[in-house]
């Protein structure tokens, strides 16, 4: 990408995240179902790419590294950051 990412985005891409240890992911045709054993909430991950990224989060030092490892094109990163923020709010993922 030739344009430098927006400051908020750059910060987000540098974060160390992981799947919440109390969350189980179950693959489904539309993506995956996530279940949080602590707050007992069921959350839908509505795209297979986001499921792959979530699964990879814990294996990389930064979110950017996870996105790269999953072959997510940089022009899609802002939407992934947004989706991950909502997953963090639902406690599907968390900061390491």
């Amino acid at each position: 990408m030739s344009v430098a990412p927006a400051p908020g985005l750059a910060e987000a891409l540098g974060r160390r995240l992981e799947l919440h240890p109390q969350v189980a992911l179950r693959p489904e045709p539309f993506g995956a179902l996530a279940y949080h054993y602590g707050n007992r909430r069921l959350i839908f991950l509505r795209h297979r790419d986001i499921v792959r990224v979530v699964e990879e989060l814990g294996s990389h030092d930064t979110l950017e590294a996870s996105l790269t490892a999953c072959d997510v094109a940089p022009n899609r990163w802002p939407s992934f950051v947004k989706a991950l923020q909502s997953l963090e709010t639902s406690e599907v993922i968390r900061e390491r």
């Binding site: 189980a24 179950r26 693959p27 489904e28 045709p29 539309f30 993506g31 179902l33 279940y35 054993y37 007992r40 069921l42 839908f44 509505r46 795209h47």
Partner: protein
């Protein structure tokens, strides 16, 4: 993916159910007049402890996150705690429904010490008079005692489950107040004409005016009240209620009954909706993934007689079980259709043609006979 396309995805079915109900026994200390499984007496064919654990092994492998255990009264089974603990240790959370008869102080403490466990206590009135008329003499006091014991043991937010009837619609705020007083969560669900409900439904189901009352109450309170998404037939009244607007039978929901038979949902215990048995070769997974019944329920359905009604997208034609057990065709309006189409059709259903539930475990009526007078 939009919420709408998610619903259309779910209609094709999931790799495993989200919401699996498992009735552990047909035995019950109560004889509620609307019991969806006509419970009362234990069935001699009920799954053994070993069979139950085998089912749990399968559910673990399918990544079923949690199960809803019911009955009958599940705590009657001597291996109740054994089964619950086995489930939880396999990372299958448990929510169980009970009338509270067996939750004394000691049991409440035992339950409070367990993780990944939810308890749902049933009451159908905010006072003994309203509740006991449906659930039986003394059942209100029994449930409240169990709630007191759970609260005292520090169980945390248990659930209070209410079936909405003609006689308790006006008590919805009262149920909420009871739940709030315990820090509990209120769950209200729709009455179905299933089990013994087939006989009591006509006298218990909410009137058309009351349906509007329920709809407005749910719109105002719905975010804080669980409904099992069971009131989607009311969506034809306007703004949709929170939750999934679809029938989940065989797609996201199913029932395992006490003898291991698998049905499309807890409200359709009838051969026509029996998909197989966990005792069959291939077990539960094969029934879920391959049974003809479940595959057909995942096919796009026809709006049938409802296709000319502008509300079909909102109400989806209502509840399959409600139609079936009142003798209405499945591809037509729900008996409680808010536009009144169901009620007019219901008036034309000949007496006695509505299908009967597959099994009846109601306890026989016993007459206590006085000693014969000496002659």
């Amino acid at each position: 993916m939009s919420a709408e396309s998610l619903v259309s995805q779910m209609k094709f079915g999931l790799d495993a159910p989200i919401c699996l109900t498992w009735e552990l026994t047909y035995a019950c200390n109560l004889q509620c007049i609307h019991c969806l499984s006509s419970s009362g007496q234990r069935d001699s064919r009920e799954l053994s402890t070993a069979e139950a654990k085998k089912v749990l092994d399968e559910l673990r492998d399918l990544q079923v996150f949690y199960i809803n255990i019911g009955g009958g009264e599940p705590m009657i089974r001597r291996d109740f705690f054994d089964i619950v603990e086995y489930s939880i240790s396999n990372r299958i959370g448990v929510k169980f429904s009970t009338n509270g008869a067996f939750i004394d102080r000691a049991r409440a403490q035992q339950l409070a010490a367990m993780d990944y466990l939810d308890i749902q206590l049933s009451i159908d009135g905010v006072d003994a008079a309203t509740n006991d008329a449906v659930r039986g003499e003394g059942s209100y006091a029994m449930a409240r005692r169990a709630m007191d014991n759970l609260a005292e043991a520090g169980f945390g937010p248990f659930k209070i489950s209410v079936v909405v009837t003609r006689h308790n619609v006006d008590q919805l705020d009262g149920f909420k107040a009871i739940a709030d007083s315990y820090g509990a969560q209120l769950r209200v669900t729709r009455l179905r004409p299933s089990g013994r409900g087939a006989d009591s439904w006509h006298n218990l189901h909410p009137t058309n005016d009351q349906q509007m009352q329920i709809y407005k109450w749910l719109l105002a309170n719905g975010e804080n009240v669980l409904t099992g998404d069971s009131f989607f037939h009311l969506n034809a009244l306007g703004e949709p209620l929170p939750g999934l607007n679809m029938c989940g039978a065989g797609r996201v929901v199913c029932l395992i009954d006490p003898i291991g038979d698998v049905y499309a949902c807890p409200f359709v215990i009838h051969d026509q909706f029996k998909a197989g048995s966990v005792r069959d070769e291939g077990g539960f997974a094969k029934v879920w993934k391959q049974s003809d019944l479940f595959l057909s329920l995942r096919e796009p359905e026809s709006a049938g007689a409802c296709s000319s009604c502008g509300n079909y997208d909102a109400c989806q034609g209502g509840c399959m079980a409600a139609k079936f057990f009142t003798g209405l065709p499945l591809d037509g309006p729900d008996p409680e259709c808010v536009t009144g189409y169901g009620a007019s059709q219901l008036a034309n259903v000949p007496v006695g043609i509505a299908p009967k539930p597959a099994m009846d475990h109601t306890k026989p009526i016993t007459f206590t006979r006085k000693k014969p007078a000496s002659v």
